[in-house]
Symmetry: C2
C-alpha cells in the first residue's frame, strides 16, 4: 500500500503474471528467479527486486511458488472488483482492439464503445454496444468506468479526451498520434504506432550494418 510502484516495475509484474499463468500446471509449481528472468529476458536480480514489492517470499531451495506469485501480483495489479473500460472511436483499429481485449483479462471489461459516425452507433461489437458521443458522460457514469481506450483521429483526440475527463475518466490508453494535454491527475499511456515503427527501422538499420550493394 504505502510502497510506491514504478511504471517499469508494474509493466514487468504484469508480464510476469501472464507468463506464470501460461506456465501454471505445465511445469513445476515452483520457479526460480533465474528461470523467470530467462522467460522475460531480464536479470534474476531484477526479478527478485520486483517480487520484493509484492511481499511474496521465496524459498532458497525451491524458489517461488507460482500460484503465490500470480495471486500476489494480482493483488497489486488488479482492483478488488472488475474494472470497467470504455473505448472511443470504433474504426478499424478500435474494433480490432475491442476484439483483442475481449475476454483476455477477466478483470478488465470493455463495457461500452463510442463513435461519432451514425452507421456505427447502436451496432454491437463483441457484445458491446456503440453509443453516440452525446451519451458519453451518461454511460461512463452509469458504468462507473475510470479508464478509456482512445482510438480516434488525431484532430479530435484532444477534444474527446477533454470530454472523457469531464465524465470522470482517470486513465487513458491513447492510440491517437498526438500528445494529450490533460490535468496531472489523469494518467495517459501512449501507444505511438508511428514512432514505434520508426524506432524499429532505425535500430534494425543500425544492427544490419552497412547497406548491401
Amino acid at each position: 500500500m504505502t510502497t510506491t510502484i514504478s511504471k517499469r516495475t508494474l509493466e514487468r509484474l504484469s508480464l510476469y503474471r501472464r507468463l506464470l499463468s501460461d506456465r501454471l500446471g505445465k511445469e513445476s509449481p515452483f520457479i526460480f528467479s533465474h528461470q523467470l528472468a530467462k522467460l522475460v529476458q531480464v536479470t534474476s536480480s531484477q526479478v527478485r527486486r520486483d517480487i520484493m514489492v509484492t511481499g511474496c517470499f521465496g524459498n532458497p531451495t525451491r524458489g517461488y511458488r507460482v500460484e503465490d506469485l500470480i495471486e500476489a501480483i494480482g493483488k497489486i495489479v488488479d482492483a478488488e472488483e472488475p474494472q470497467n473500460v470504455v473505448l472511443v472511436g470504433i474504426g478499424k483499429l478500435g474494433s480490432a482492439l475491442m476484439n483483442h481485449f475481449h475476454g483476455r483479462r477477466p478483470n478488465l471489461r470493455i463495457k461500452a464503445a463510442f463513435d461519432s459516425s451514425p452507421e456505427r452507433i447502436n451496432r454491437i461489437y463483441q457484445g458491446v454496444r456503440c453509443y453516440g458521443m452525446q451519451d458519453l458522460a451518461q454511460v461512463i457514469r452509469d458504468e462507473s468506468a475510470y479508464a478509456a481506450i482512445l482510438t480516434v483521429p488525431g484532430d479530435v483526440a484532444q477534444q474527446v479526451a477533454n470530454q472523457l475527463v469531464m465524465a470522470g475518466i482517470r486513465g487513458i490508453l491513447n492510440f491517437a498520434p498526438v500528445p494529450l494535454h490533460l490535468p496531472g491527475n489523469v494518467y495517459v499511456e501512449v501507444i505511438d504506432l508511428t514512432t514505434s515503427l520508426e524506432k524499429v527501422t532505425f535500430f534494425a538499420r543500425q544492427s544490419a550494418g552497412a547497406q548491401v550493394s
Copy 2:
C-alpha cells in the same frame, strides 16, 4: 554518425518531427525550445539536449528554424532510401495496422503481408498482397525488407519470428503477447496491449483516490 542515440531520445525526435510537420506553415517558421517543450510535454532543457544530437543550431532570439529541425531529424530517423517493411499475421489487428500505416510515413512502406490462413492468401490489403508463409523468405529478400510487424497469435510468434530473422529481418515490432527470444543483433520493439491497459487501470485507480460508495 559516431554519436549514439538512445531509445528515448529517438522517440522524442520522432515525435518532435511529427508535431513540427503539423505546425509547418500554420505558425511562425521558427520555434523556441519552450514552445516545442509545451507541445510534447517535456522540459525545454530536454528539447535543447535532444536537438543537440541532430546537429541543428538555434538562434537565441528567433529559436530554431522549423524546416531545419524537420530535415535534421529526418537525417537521423530516416534511411537514405525508403525502408521496406513486411507484416505477418493479417487478422483484425494486422489489417487495422496495415490501414493505419498506409501512406502515413512516406519513407516506411509495407510491401508485403503474410498469413497462414488460405482465405487470406493472395488477397490484397491496402494495395499490398498477402502471401503464404512458405513464400516469406523469398519475398523478404526480394523486397530487401529489414523490418517486420508481427501480429500473429502468441503460440506461433516465436516460430514466426525465427523465420523472419532467418530471412534477414533485423527489427521487429511485436504485438504478440509473448517475449521473443532472438539473437542480440535483432531489435525488438514490444507493444504489449494487455500490460498497457493494465497500467492504465492501475494508475487511474491510484489517482481516482478512494472508491466511491
